[in-house]
């Protein structure tokens, strides 16, 4: 009472005033454009489409390497409905060698996207992942923020760069699936030949 609470408070602010010159605990400010902190591995901003640069189709370009098979699950699950996919008419072989559709159009309106990561979670093909790039300002409010599949396509190496642990896990999982699929193909092939042989016999 009688002003000692005020004096206590003043002492506290003085402590902070001088403390901010010495203790990094107190002065947490990062002067952004000059200083940057590396984003956390889990950080997420907007989605991108992964392509394998050394891919099954033999090509090295982004278009043939896209993992996306235009299944449209993400389009359906996207809460703000910012994804637009147009399925292709023809089919191309996918990472496992199976013939699949591919996205003729894949647009994400990042002015609508709310970075919720649900598209990533529901994708069964590990084709869509979250980017950590956040300096995306543009002068064109509508067109500039509507990304098409070319702008969205980023290589698997890039994915490794921004989310190393997660990408390694995904690669391992994909490789396992590939082996399984090949085995299945072999088994079915063997079964087929056996059946043919059986029929012949």
């Amino acid at each position: 009472m009688l002003g000692e609470g005020i004096i206590k408070g003043m002492v506290e602010t003085a402590k902070n005033f001088f403390g901010s010159y010495f203790s990094a605990e107190r002065l947490t400010t990062v002067e952004y454009p000059e200083q940057r902190i590396a984003p956390y591995e889990a950080a997420r901003v907007f989605p991108f489409l992964v392509f394998d640069s050394k891919n099954h189709a033999g090509g090295t370009d982004w278009e043939s390497g896209l993992r996306c098979v235009a299944c449209q699950i993400c389009e359906k699950e996207c809460p703000p409905k910012c994804i637009f996919i147009e399925k292709s008419k023809d089919k191309k072989p996918d990472a496992l060698g199976r013939l699949q559709f591919y996205p003729a159009r894949f647009d994400i309106d990042i002015s609508v996207c709310m970075s919720c990561q649900i598209c990533v979670e529901v994708c069964p093909f590990e084709a869509i992942k979250m980017d950590t790039e956040f300096e995306l300002s543009t002068e064109d409010r509508f067109g500039g923020l509507l990304l098409d599949r070319k702008q969205l396509a980023k290589s698997n190496q890039y994915y490794h760069q921004i989310h190393p642990a997660e990408a390694t896990g995904v690669d391992a999982k994909l490789a396992a699936e590939k082996i399984k699929a090949h085995a299945k193909v072999k088994i079915t092939d063997e079964a087929k030949t056996a059946a043919i042989a059986g029929a012949g016999a």
Partner: protein
Amino acid sequence: MSEMQSHSAILADKPQGWNRPAAIEPQNEGELLEVSMGPHHPSTHGVFRMDVALDGERVIRLKPVFGYLHRNHEKLAEGQSYLASMPYTDRLDYICPITNNWAYALAVEKLIGQEVPERAEYLRVILGELTRYQNHASSIGFLIQEMGASGTPLMYAFREREKILDLFEELTGARMMVNYMRFGGCRVDASPGWLDRTRKVVAGLSGFADEFDQLLKSNEILMARTQGVGVLRPELAVNAGVTGPMLRASGVNYDIRKVDGYGIYNRFNFRVPLGDHGDVYDRYMIRMLEMRESIEILNQALREIQPGPVMDPKAKIRGLRPKPGEAYGRIEAPKGELGFYLISDGGPNPYRYRVRPPSLINLTVLEDMCLGVNVADVVLIFGSVDIVLGEVDR
């Protein structure tokens, strides 16, 4: 003028037994100064408006006007899958998204009868209590800011909040819009490194509470401004459905963590602080004391957490089609009882989706607390209610 009259007509229509303080009759209607505080007034926490009628600087009438931030949350949720509403709940009370996630997850888990693994429960408690801590700290900061302390306590609160938000970002990928919980667990597991960092942050939190106490607890100006101001009587608080620290500051022992013991809260030792006066000072102090109790819970949870799965492997993430029925999941959110009420008709979308937002319901007693006080106290009382407009307007 006509609006004023229509408002007094509404007042007259109030049901009996509402226990409203006798409406203050101005000496002369023509001499009232009507001020529309908001929606772009500096102290309305966003877009909230109060139509205040003043006699001098005394409040004669106060009409809260909200809805400026209405985003159609409930109707949107009825038009999309159960999962797709989860990120939207982050945006209700955007100061504490984790607890919103939790309440919604709880409701859906009840609806579909889903169990949650133990580690996920611990993670929920840890994140929930961290959220409570940072919410209380910043709400006190805002309160003192409204008292005119040029933001110093707010900045201290934000300095601590930064450390907690960094933990959130490391674990969930986002500082505020975490979208972390799923029906049957949590989205990602916490690494041992994250738990260590959390322990370190938690160890520093009590020091921050001490600093806050040192700065403000015995400040004479703070006492003069807050003691005896905006008294909320327990009967009115209970009748109006007020919950959370506001209710406990009025002396009513009601904490859903104790009442329901949802999750694993009955495993932890913690106390529920209660106020005796129900004024702004009590609300401030109750929040301070709850922050310390949160540290207690955090210490226990961080000590006891065991490795294990964070997600029930049998749980479906997408394509939920609950059996027809209803469920109400509620938790003790930092601001009060946050509940989600869901009705399923067997389809992929909820048939009815309803949020019980503590902010809105606590705000309904604003006029009762503000009648007859000085206009400067209105912003103070308003600040002590601790609302987030995203939750009020939805």
